[in-house]
C-alpha cells in the first residue's frame, strides 16, 4: 500500500501545567500521524492525558497556566504559533471536535437550528435559508427523526444520543479534514452508542475524514479504529494496527487494559480478585 501524506502530524507534543504544587507534566513528548479516511484510536485509563492532548491540538488550553510545546502540522501547515484568530477558523472548519458531554457544545438558550445555521455561516458564505436546508439534510443523513422540527427545539429537549448526532451532522456540513472525537459515546446507552459510532464511520467514509477516536473503552476501539495508540501517564507506550494490538499486545499496560474488561463470557473468579484491590 502506498503511504499517503499524513493529514495531521504531531511531533514532540509536551503539555505542562503550572499548579500550586509546581510544574506538572501532563503530556510528555508524544508523536503520531493521522491519515485521510482512517480512524486512529487513542486509548488509556482516565487521567492518562487523552483530553489534554485533544485540547492541546486545538489550542483550547488556558494559555496563562499551561505550556504547550512541540509541532502540530495540519496538511503541511504548522499550527503552533498561528494567530488566535486564524486558529479560531481552523477549529470547526479544519478540525472538528466532538466532546463527551454534547450539552457543553451547545448554548442552552438558543435553538438547535439557530446554532447549526450560525456555525455553518461562520465558515461558509451562505444565506440563512441555504444553511438551514443544508442543516436539515445533514440531520436526516445521520438518521435524526423529524429534522425540520428538531431545528426549533432547545438542546435540553434532546437526548444525549440525539445531540451527539447533531454534532456529527454539523461536521458533515463543515467537512473538516480531521475530527477529534473525545469519548463521544461514553455518556450514552448501548443502542445510542452504536448509532453514534455508525454515523461517525459514515462521515469518515463519505468525506475521507481522519478521525482521532479517544476512548477508555477497548470495545469502542475494536469497533472502529484502524490503528491504535495507547497512552499511560502522558506517554504513548504502544502503537500498532488494531488487530495486532488485540492479538499481540506488547506493553504490559496494554495487556492490563485488555484483561480488565467486563465481558459476557464467564471468567475465572480468581483472575477477577486481583482487580478488587488498589
Amino acid at each position: 500500500m502506498v503511504q499517503t501524506e499524513p493529514v495531521l502530524e504531531v511531533n514532540g507534543l509536551k503539555v505542562q501545567a503550572n499548579t500550586p504544587d509546581g510544574i506538572v507534566s501532563l503530556v510528555r513528548g508524544i508523536n503520531f500521524e493521522m491519515h485521510a479516511g482512517k480512524v486512529l484510536g487513542l486509548v488509556g485509563e482516565s487521567g492518562s492525558g487523552k483530553t489534554v492532548t485533544s485540547l492541546a491540538l486545538l489550542r483550547l488550553l488556558d494559555r496563562k497556566r499551561i505550556l504547550v510545546e512541540g509541532s502540530i502540522r495540519l496538511m503541511g501547515t504548522e499550527l503552533t504559533g498561528l494567530k488566535l484568530s486564524t486558529m479560531q477558523s481552523v477549529r470547526g472548519k479544519d478540525i472538528g471536535l466532538i466532546m463527551q458531554n454534547p450539552m457543553n457544545a451547545f448554548s442552552p438558550v438558543a435553538t438547535i437550528g439557530s446554532q447549526f445555521v450560525e456555525t455553518i455561516r461562520t465558515h461558509a458564505r451562505m444565506t440563512r435559508n441555504e444553511a438551514a436546508e443544508l442543516a436539515i439534510a445533514a440531520m436526516e443523513d445521520v438518521r435524526l427523526p423529524n429534522a425540520a422540527e428538531l431545528m426549533r427545539r432547545y438542546p435540553f429537549q434532546l437526548s444525549g444520543g440525539m445531540l451527539q448526532r447533531v454534532m456529527i451532522a454539523i461536521c458533515m456540513c463543515l467537512k473538516p479534514a480531521v475530527i477529534i472525537a473525545d469519548e463521544p459515546t461514553t455518556a450514552l446507552d448501548a443502542a445510542n452508542q452504536l448509532q453514534v459510532l455508525r454515523q461517525l464511520d459514515r462521515l469518515r467514509e463519505n468525506n475521507g475524514t481522519a478521525v482521532l477516536l479517544i476512548s477508555h473503552d477497548l470495545s469502542v476501539i475494536a469497533e472502529l479504529a484502524d490503528d491504535v495508540i495507547v497512552m499511560q501517564r502522558g506517554q504513548i507506550v504502544e502503537r500498532s494496527d488494531v488487530y495486532q494490538l488485540f492479538d499481540h499486545p506488547q506493553h504490559a499496560y496494554t495487556k492490563q487494559l485488555l484483561q480488565a474488561r467486563p465481558t459476557l463470557k464467564a471468567r475465572e473468579p480468581e483472575s477477577l480478585k486481583e482487580y478488587a484491590r488498589a
Binding site: E45, S46, G160, A191, H216, S219, E223, F246, P262, L264
Partner: protein
C-alpha cells in the same frame, strides 16, 4: 420470605415542562413486580428512559408510587411506623452514578463515611475513626485517606468512598444505580470485583441498575430487562437472557460492542433501523 418484594408498582409523572407536552401525564412504571432474595444480585437492564432510576427511587422510599407496594423485610416501606421506617432505611442504602455530585466537596472522606454512623450509632471519636479506617480498608483504600477531601480522589476512588459509606451500617440491600457507568474500564472492573467480594463477605443483596449488559452480566445472579416502564423479561439464571426473543432484549444484545476487531460491525445493522 424474600428480602424485597416489589408488588405491582405503577407510577406516573406529570410533565412540568411548559414548552413540551404541557401538563400531560406520562406512565413511567407499569405493573412492575419482582423479588430479590437475601445474598442475591438482581441486574436491572434497559435503555435510557426505560424507568430504571424511577423504580430505584421507589424502592429506596424516595418516590411514593401511585400504585403498588414495596415490602422490605416483611414491612410495607411506605406505611411502616416511624421506628420501623428508621430501621428499614438503615438496611437500605444506595450508590449513584455521579460520584462527584454524590458527596459534599467540603466534607473530608472521614466525615462523608461517618455521617450514616453518626445518625444511627453513638460512637466515641476514637471508635468512629477506627470504624472509618476499617471501612476504607474494606473498599481497598488506606485508613490514612480519611483526612483527604473529594477533589484529591479519582473517580474510581471516590466511588469506593461512596461504597464505604453505603456499607457502613451493614445494610441488607444496596441499590446501585449506574454505579460504575461513568468509570473507565479498568476502574469498572475493579469496582465490580470489589462489589462481588463485599456481597460474599457481608451477605449483601444488590439491585444493580445499568444499561450495560456486560457489567450486569459480570455481577448479577439474575437479570431483568425493563422497557417502557415494564419488566419484559426476568431470568433467574442470568445465562438464560441470551435466549429471550423480546425485541428490547434482542436490541440490548445487538448493541453490544465487540471484544475483538474481528467481530466489528455485527451490531450495526440493527442500529441503522433504530
Amino acid at each position: 420470605m424474600s428480602l424485597l418484594q416489589v408488588e405491582n408498582i405503577s407510577h406516573t409523572y406529570r410533565s412540568s415542562n411548559r414548552l413540551w407536552r404541557s401538563g400531560s401525564l406520562t406512565t413511567v412504571l407499569s405493573h412492575v413486580s419482582f423479588e430479590i432474595e437475601r445474598g442475591q444480585c438482581l441486574g436491572l437492564l434497559g435503555s435510557s428512559g426505560a424507568g430504571k432510576s424511577t423504580l430505584g427511587k421507589v424502592i429506596l422510599g424516595l418516590e411514593q408510587p401511585r400504585q403498588g407496594r414495596i415490602i422490605f423485610q416483611g414491612h410495607d416501606l411506605y406505611y411502616a411506623d416511624t421506628r420501623a421506617a428508621r430501621q428499614l432505611r438503615r438496611d437500605l442504602q444506595v450508590v449513584f452514578q455521579d460520584c462527584y455530585s454524590s458527596v459534599n466537596p467540603r466534607m473530608s472522606a472521614e466525615q462523608i463515611i461517618a455521617e450514616p454512623l453518626n445518625n444511627y450509632e453513638k460512637l466515641t471519636r476514637d471508635e468512629g475513626k477506627r470504624r472509618v479506617g476499617e471501612l476504607l480498608e474494606a473498599v481497598g483504600l488506606k485508613a490514612d485517606d480519611m483526612r483527604k477531601y473529594p477533589h484529591a480522589f479519582s473517580g474510581g476512588q471516590l466511588q469506593r468512598i461512596n461504597i464505604a459509606r453505603a456499607i457502613a451500617l451493614k445494610p441488607k440491600l444496596i441499590v446501585l444505580d449506574e454505579a460504575v457507568s461513568s468509570l473507565d474500564m479498568v476502574n469498572q472492573t475493579r469496582i465490580l470485583s470489589l462489589l462481588s467480594e463485599l456481597k460474599a463477605t457481608f451477605g449483601l443483596s444488590y439491585l444493580f441498575i445499568t444499561h450495560d449488559i456486560k457489567a450486569a452480566h459480570v455481577i448479577s445472579d439474575s437479570l431483568a430487562v425493563m422497557d417502557k416502564g415494564q419488566i419484559v423479561e426476568h431470568c433467574r439464571d442470568k445465562s438464560g437472557l441470551a435466549d429471550s426473543a423480546h425485541p428490547a432484549v434482542r436490541e440490548l444484545f445487538a448493541s453490544v460492542l465487540p471484544e475483538h476487531p474481528r467481530d466489528r460491525g455485527l451490531g450495526r445493522e440493527s442500529a441503522i433501523k433504530q
